[in-house]
């Protein structure tokens, strides 16, 4: 089973078309293995990105450097998945 220990999901609130373009560049960069749960399209909808632990610093630095507002939506993805799994097993019992 794939584990997501230390992975975070960031909620990014783009404020301008320039931010959207920068986020699109981020989306095209396969090196950071980002999983965009919602995609950069307009300033109306937030962009949620699942970021592997190894890319966290780089991605946060990128966002801060370009003054793109974001917050951590899910602090540790695996913790949430463990809770979900526990609920599933309890229900099955």
């Amino acid at each position: 089973r794939k584990l997501f220990i230390g992975h975070q999901v960031l909620r990014i609130n783009a404020e301008s078309e320039e931010h959207i373009q920068l986020l699109k560049e981020l989306e095209d960069d396969e090196g950071w293995e980002l999983d965009f749960w919602t995609h950069p399209a307009s300033t109306d909808l937030p962009v949620d990105v699942h970021v592997p632990f190894a890319s966290l610093h780089a991605v946060k630095d990128f966002l801060q450097a370009h003054k793109i507002p974001f917050h951590v939506m899910i602090n540790n993805l695996q913790e949430l998945l463990d809770e979900e799994q526990e609920g599933l097993e309890l229900s099955a019992m």
Binding site: R1, K2, F36, T38, A41, I74, L81, E84, L88, S91
Partner: protein, 310 residues
């Protein structure tokens, strides 16, 4: 296994086997209303089932509802389970449901991507696509909502098999998509086609492959807005309404664009609620609130379709 419909926990996420087994208990509890119809098999040879709600007649005007085409969107599938139970129990009790099923059939696909759903339970909770092998690539799977014959391969779909929005080699190349297409086309009398996704709280209508308005834009927008009003009446959940292209982004090869283009006017896609804190990982205690509010929106659309034959 969940053998008794009364003991089934609707406020929990379940495996594919449990859901399939629960379908049997629902059919057993409502044998004159609900049947489990196999519409084909998946890439990995799992059966694909839909629940058919029918009070008789032959190829009556029908409504198609699918959930879980993107396998990681668990709340979509969990809500569909709750809504199937609700519709069965409300027949003969709620005049609106009784009248609807007196005139139309409803086909509900609860797990539209069974291979992907099983994979999210065993190997990768974040899996979205089908599980088909892509020749020449180490990456598996096609985005089944980019694989329909509607602007196939156009903007908003990827040609890269490793992408989560890979459109696949050909339109309807995915057997899961083809099974639905074949059912809808062989039936020939579907009047509405509704896809349930999660998350972001949106109710959308065509097009996604183009940013031009569909001929019925005004009507679909109005129906969508009233449906969202009904949905919001329960918990105040806010939804946005609009065409896929205008409220999210251009995305080609989507299911409701296909259904609209083959003549099913009332084509809609829901993106269910999230709380702004969990994305795809909506806690199980929010399944029933999500399903309950969605049911109100869905019921509004179905009532409108019933009352506006074409």
């Amino acid at each position: 296994q969940e053998r008794n419909a009364r003991s089934f926990n609707f406020g929990a996420y379940h495996t594919l086997d449990t859901i399939y087994s629960w379908m049997d208990t629902l059919v057993a509890a409502h044998p004159n209303l609900v049947s489990k119809v196999q519409i084909g098999t998946t890439y990995e040879n799992r059966p694909m089932y839909v629940l058919k709600f029918s009070t008789g007649g032959n190829k009556r005007p029908a409504i198609w509802i699918d959930a879980g085409i993107h396998s990681r969107e668990w709340v979509s599938t969990a809500s569909a389970v709750w809504m199937a139970d609700k519709m069965a129990k409300d027949y003969g009790v709620d005049p609106s449901v009784t009248s609807l099923l007196g005139q139309m059939d409803v086909y509900l696909s609860i797990v539209t991507n069974p291979d992907g759903y099983a994979f999210t339970h065993t190997s990768d909770r974040m899996w979205r696509k089908t599980r088909s092998v892509n020749p020449g690539s180490v990456c598996r799977g096609v985005d089944p909502n980019r694989n329909w014959d509607a602007g196939f391969g156009g903007p908003g779909a990827s040609k890269n098999p490793c992408s989560d929005s890979y459109h696949g080699p050909l339109a309807h190349s995915e057997i899961e998509v083809k099974n639905v297409v074949d059912l809808v086309q062989s039936h020939g009398n579907f009047k509405a086609f509704i896809s349930i996704h999660a998350y972001s709280q949106l109710l959308m209508y065509p097009y996604g492959y183009s940013c031009t308005s569909v001929p019925h834009q005004a009507e679909l927008d109005s129906v969508g807005r009233s449906a969202v009003q009904a949905l919001s009446s329960l918990y105040g959940t806010t939804y946005k309404v609009g065409s896929i292209c205008k409220i999210i982004y251009q995305a080609s090869g989507g299911s409701i664009d296909w259904s609209y283009d083959v003549g099913i006017k009332y084509s809609f896609a829901f993106e269910l609620r999230d709380t702004g804190r969990y994305g795809f990982l909506l806690p199980a205690n929010q399944i029933i609130p999500t399903a309950s509010e969605t049911w109100l929106g869905l019921k509004h659309i179905m009532e409108y379709v019933r009352d506006h034959p074409y």
